[in-house]
């Protein structure tokens, strides 16, 4: 038992310093149960056990973050990677079509972004980011809408519309396999802090913080599904539950509803900040949109 703990501990200390600390509030409550228990005999044995447990827990929380697809069954993992069978590619196709569709006198997307396979590769891996012009945090959906309204002079599609989902899925698919490089420094720092605070704050009638499940209970079951590290590298994703493609914000709204907390609007500041925090958490992980999720 002890050698295993030591090995795990050494792996945990190997994690780089800039990785955000992930210590869930639930762990203190667990180790606080034991002191009243006289059955442990000598205090020495108790402290040894506590130390061992806390070592194991630290090791577990500092483990490397895995993408959401790692928690799918093998057959669903294969389906996600198979462009013939992953229905998310239907939306990618729609987006690709919209990308070069002409509407009135407005320039098409492709007339500026020529050769999108090259020029837009990696774009999705850098979002959300702070928009230089407005100083506001903007995600990929917001960037596409901004382009449409400001440059194409067309009415916005609207968050979660099939058109915007299609375009987002298409642009995100161009970065498939690219590691996330979202920055939490400079202008993004306050948004990152807000997002982190949101992630660590208990909320809703169930009084749960994101971290309690998505760090503390990863790999365990929640109803029929396996709890994963809360990161959005697969979004926009095709969820079997939705029978369609949905954005990360739709997924976040489902989580908010699950803990009976306030559901924020699509594209709200709260979810944008959280999206940034999740993207920074997932730094270095490959983008896998369009993902396939249960």
């Amino acid at each position: 038992m002890i050698p295993t703990a030591l090995i795990l501990r050494s792996r945990a200390s190997g994690v780089s310093k800039d990785a955000p600390e992930r210590t869930g509030p639930s762990f203190e409550t667990r180790s606080a149960i034991a002191p009243q228990d006289e059955g442990y005999g000598s205090g020495k044995a108790f402290w040894l056990a506590t130390a061992l447990i806390s070592l194991l827990l630290t090791a577990a929380t500092a483990e490397e973050i895995k993408p959401g697809s790692a928690f799918l069954s093998a057959s669903m993992q294969r389906q996600q990677e198979d462009e013939a069978r992953n229905p998310g590619w239907l939306w990618v196709e729609q987006g690709e079509e919209l990308f070069s569709r002409r509407e009135g006198a407005a320039p098409t997307c492709i007339s500026c972004h020529t050769d999108p396979k090259q020029s837009l590769r990696g774009a999705a891996a850098r979002h959300p980011q702070v928009d230089a012009a407005s100083g506001k945090l903007i995600n990929l959906e917001g960037r596409i809408e901004q382009c449409r309204v400001d440059r194409q002079k067309q009415p916005a599609f609207g968050y979660e519309s099939q058109e915007l989902l299609g375009l987002t899925a298409y642009v995100a698919s161009l970065s498939k396999g690219v590691p996330l490089t979202v920055s939490a420094e400079g202008a993004a720092k306050p948004y990152y802090e807000t997002g982190k605070a949101f992630y660590d704050r208990r909320q809703g009638q169930l009084n749960l913080a994101c971290t309690q499940c998505h760090d503390g209970l990863v790999g365990q079951k929640l109803r029929g599904d396996t709890i994963s590290y809360g990161i959005g590298t697969g979004y926009p994703a095709y969820r079997l539950e939705w029978n369609g493609l949905g954005s990360l914000h739709r997924r976040l709204r489902a989580c908010s509803l699950g803990v009976r907390a306030t559901q924020f609007d699509y594209g709200s500041d709260e979810y944008l900040a959280l999206e940034l925090y999740l993207a920074v958490r997932a730094k270095g992980l490959a983008l896998e949109a369009p993902g396939l999720r249960r």
């Binding site: 462009e83 013939a84 069978r85 229905p87 590619w89 239907l90 196709e93 729609q94 099939q162 029978n243 369609g244």
Partner: protein, 108 residues
Amino acid sequence: MASFNARITMPAEARAGEIVEIRVLVRHPMDRGGQVDSEGRVVPRKILNRLTVTYAGEPVFRYDMHTGVSANPFVSFTTRAVETGDLTFEWREDGGATFTRTARLVVT
């Protein structure tokens, strides 16, 4: 409602006598009927109820779909490559609308 869209995946060419796998994914909500939409109206049943495939004019595959088939259904089947020709896929929707796509198989 999202537009109908089909992704047909199959080899572009095959040797005569070879077995080719044809995979078809379509975008369709497959409304089973009876559900209530956000305005309180009952959604009528509207599904793709049949997929027929002909190869160089000969029927090679037919699939009758019912309400238990999921949205955006995926179908996979095999056929033997005999001659160069078009595979014509026809989906029939409730209400009589049909959607047709073709893909060419070159036999060498």
